[in-house]
């Protein structure tokens, strides 16, 4: 059974069946990653271009590993040294690359809607690896995979996304995907980092981290982006850490163990203390490992579909 779309542009509007299919398929690839030889011939002969217009370490490496483990031919394109720096438009860049007969494009770009834009001007399958502050669907899929791996389900779980919701692409994909799968999604952060009308998405909003911890099964802790400080979203990272940071002390007030997730990169002792990040309730490194399997699943389903 193929996915309903030939692209993965976001999780808004993606059906429960499709998300289920990706997660189930990822389980098979997760097993492959445990083998001594971690490579399958599934996408042999397919050419995939990783188009990264923004810097990224883990997402790019994760995709590249996934592609190589499926035996695809991989081309990496990043802004430095590309024609973009010389003023070429996104459309021209895309069409020039496509003229070289490529099959799939993984794109990271600072503009919301950039992946959708490419799907309109290219014939290749497009996978969104983050479009500005809009969506990052494979991150949410790997988050869901990781939760399902630990809890056996998503339905009915209380997932709280903590931190800079306004400038996060992970938050929206988490909200769309996890709500579709039946989880209760909430957000927690200072008012300046919670976007307007987010409650209308069916999301509960906390401004007190202790309340959020009390109600949550899982905390998905987002990076506080230090580079945004010029716009006065926060008085200081110190104040943020003191009132919103996830620390062992805060977590110890909870009656049940709380699973800790983080999409990385971590600012240690800003949004999360080092002992929590490395603690036994943390699944941060599992997320990274599962990310490769989930991306293999997405590439496989799109690359072998219609």
């Amino acid at each position: 059974m193929p996915l309903q779309s030939r692209h993965l542009l976001g999780l808004e509007g993606v059906s429960r069946d499709d998300i289920q299919l990706v997660l189930d398929t990822a389980t098979n690839f997760r097993e492959v990653l445990e083998r001594p030889i971690k490579k399958v011939p599934t996408l042999q002969g397919k050419t995939i271009v990783n188009l990264f217009f923004e810097s990224s370490t883990r997402t790019r490496i994760s995709f590249e590993l996934a592609e190589r483990r499926l035996s695809a031919d991989v081309v990496n394109f990043s802004v430095a040294g590309s024609s973009v720096a010389k003023g070429e438009t996104l459309k021209d860049t895309a069409r020039n690359i496509e003229a070289m007969k490529i099959d799939m494009v993984v794109v990271r770009h600072s503009s919301p809607g950039a992946a959708l834009f490419l799907s309109r001007v290219m014939n290749a399958n497009i996978i969104n690896a983050g479009d500005g502050t809009h969506e990052h669907p494979t991150q949410a899929l790997l988050d869901m995979y990781t939760i399902r791996e630990k809890f056996g389900k998503l339905e009915g779980l209380n997932v709280c996304i903590v931190g800079d919701i306004s400038h996060s692409r992970v938050a929206l994909s988490n909200i769309y995907g996890m709500q579709t799968m039946g989880a209760n999604v909430s957000v927690c952060g200072p008012t300046t980092l919670i976007p307007k009308d987010i409650k209308k998405l069916g999301v509960k909003v906390y401004h007190n981290i202790d309340d959020a911890i009390r109600d949550a099964d899982i905390l998905n802790v987002l990076r506080i982006q230090l580079e945004r400080q010029d716009r006065s979203f926060l008085p200081s990272t110190r104040e943020y850490h003191n009132y919103f940071g996830i620390t062992k002390e805060r977590l110890s007030k909870s009656k049940k163990p709380i699973t800790i997730m983080h999409p990385g990169p971590i600012n240690r002792d800003v949004e999360i203390s080092a002992d929590v990040a490395d603690g036994e309730q943390s699944v941060i490194l599992q997320q990274v490992l599962n990310g490769v399997a989930v991306r293999m699943a997405v590439l496989y389903l799109l690359g072998t579909g219609n």
Partner: protein
């Protein structure tokens, strides 16, 4: 030369006339209006079958782009679009390159427009309020008025500094000219791409809060009141702006405003497509804002409908959302949208529509009034308010096709215009 217009429904709100009659025009002057006029001698005859003859429409907010951005629009293509859209006159905005902050640019535009379509469409340049539209020093306003400027604006950029705004209002008022403000508090709107609300949150697009507009209008009204000068807010878009202006008018303050057709037709829901033709400044707002704008048009708070015709080339708009320029073309859809969205649903009467497209803008700008009356110069917009038609951007006379209305079915269209002794049909 004689022109005989037969069986016309003449609507002249300022004289309270709504009658079916024939009009005889001799050498551009209305010679006779009577129920039946027989054609005699060498006369061009047009039978209108009850189509509406109204005083000529003016679009007081148009970007003709020339000089400087001729790949988007030229004076020639822009005026062709204006004529097709039913406008016998336009005001062109100063964000050209060089900007209209020097008498030579005003003269260039006037000379070029007089040669276009034999001077069919009157062009009234709006000059920059400040040098280079930078909001720092006043432009040479007296010189600009002598060259033909009819108002002042830094359009595209707000006049941010309150002291400069005060001086601009004072100085232009001395010349009997208004300041047209692009009302936007730039610190609140910084980096924004669309209206702030559920849709911006759902799409992750940087938001522009409604207060960015409202705060600026509120402030400007205080300044205008203090110095006793006339102030016009361009393209208002929020319920709050409508209310602020409504209250100011109740106090008889010298404040007027305009709205664009897209701000009474579309909401920010349209942006969900990430279509760059839904990106404009001010941005598309919510249903509540659209409703408030319609009420403001109905109760007279909003004086004018103006298109904010903002042509951009296909390539400029064919980019990712963050990179795309703001704005859409509007000259050729404004009248159709206004009839479809306002007249058909009975929000505005035909008379009110004519006031907002013809009478009010001329009054606000102190331009010579246009009347359908014996002895007056002929300046007509002829409307077919029953005609159903489909917007086809590729057929636009405008050089640019950047519209979110392509393919939309509208009711009501300009049939022809008559101005400066020339008859021009829209299709």
């Amino acid at each position: 030369m004689k022109i005989l217009v037969k069986n016309a429904r003449i609507i002249e709100p300022s004289e309270n006339i709504d009658q079916v009659a024939d009009i005889l025009i001799v050498d551009g002057i209305i010679e006779k209006i009577a129920p039946k006029i027989a054609a005699s001698g060498n006369v061009q005859e047009y039978v209108l079958d009850g189509k509406i003859v109204a005083p000529g429409f003016i679009d007081m907010h148009v970007h003709l782009r020339e000089p400087g951005y001729e790949h988007k629009e030229t004076i020639e293509t822009g005026l062709d679009a204006a004529a097709a859209g039913g406008f016998t006159a336009v005001c062109c905005m100063p964000n050209t390159n060089p900007p209209i902050d020097d008498a030579s640019v005003v003269k260039f535009i006037r000379e070029k427009s007089e040669k276009t379509l034999n001077g069919l469409v009157d062009v009234y340049p709006v000059a920059a309020a400040t040098k280079h539209r930078e909001g720092k020093e006043l432009s040479p306003m007296i010189e600009l008025v002598e060259a033909g400027a009819v108002a002042f604006s830094d359009d595209g950029s707000p006049i941010e500094n309150p002291e400069i705004m005060r001086r601009a209002l004072e100085y232009s008022n001395m010349l009997g000219k208004i300041i047209i403000q692009h009302p936007e508090d730039r610190s609140l709107a910084r980096g924004g791409m669309m209206n702030e609300g559920l849709v911006s949150t759902s799409l992750g697009l940087p938001p522009i809060p409604s207060i960015a507009e409202e705060i600026m209008i509120d402030r400007d009204i205080q300044i205008a009141k203090y110095v006793g000068a006339s102030y016009h807010a361009a393209h208002i878009s929020t319920a709050g702006s409508v209310e602020i202006i409504r209250q100011a008018k109740k106090k008889n303050l010298p404040v007027t405003c305009e709205v664009t057709p897209h701000h009474f037709t579309l909401t920010d829901e349209a942006v969900r497509t990430f279509d760059t033709n839904t990106k404009m400044n001010p941005p598309l707002r919510t249903k509540a804002d659209v409703d408030a704008i319609k009420e403001g048009l109905r109760d007279g708070t909003i004086d004018v409908i103006a298109s904010d015709h903002a042509p951009h080339s296909f390539d400029e708009k064919e980019v990712e959302f963050l990179e795309a320029p703001f704005g859409i073309v509007g000259l050729e859809t404004a009248v159709g949208l206004a009839i479809t969205e306002l007249v058909i649903p009975k929000i505005l009467s035909i008379n009110q529509l004519i006031e907002k497209f013809s009478i009010n803008p001329r009054k606000i700008l102190s331009l010579p009034s246009v009347k359908i009356k014996v002895g007056e110069k002929t300046n007509f917009t002829i409307l077919d308010i029953q005609k159903q038609w489909k917007v086809d951007a590729q057929k636009f006379k405008s050089k640019s096709k950047n519209t979110p209305f392509d393919g939309r079915t509208l009711i009501g269209k300009c049939f022809a215009i008559i101005n400066n002794g020339r008859v021009h049909f829209s299709d």
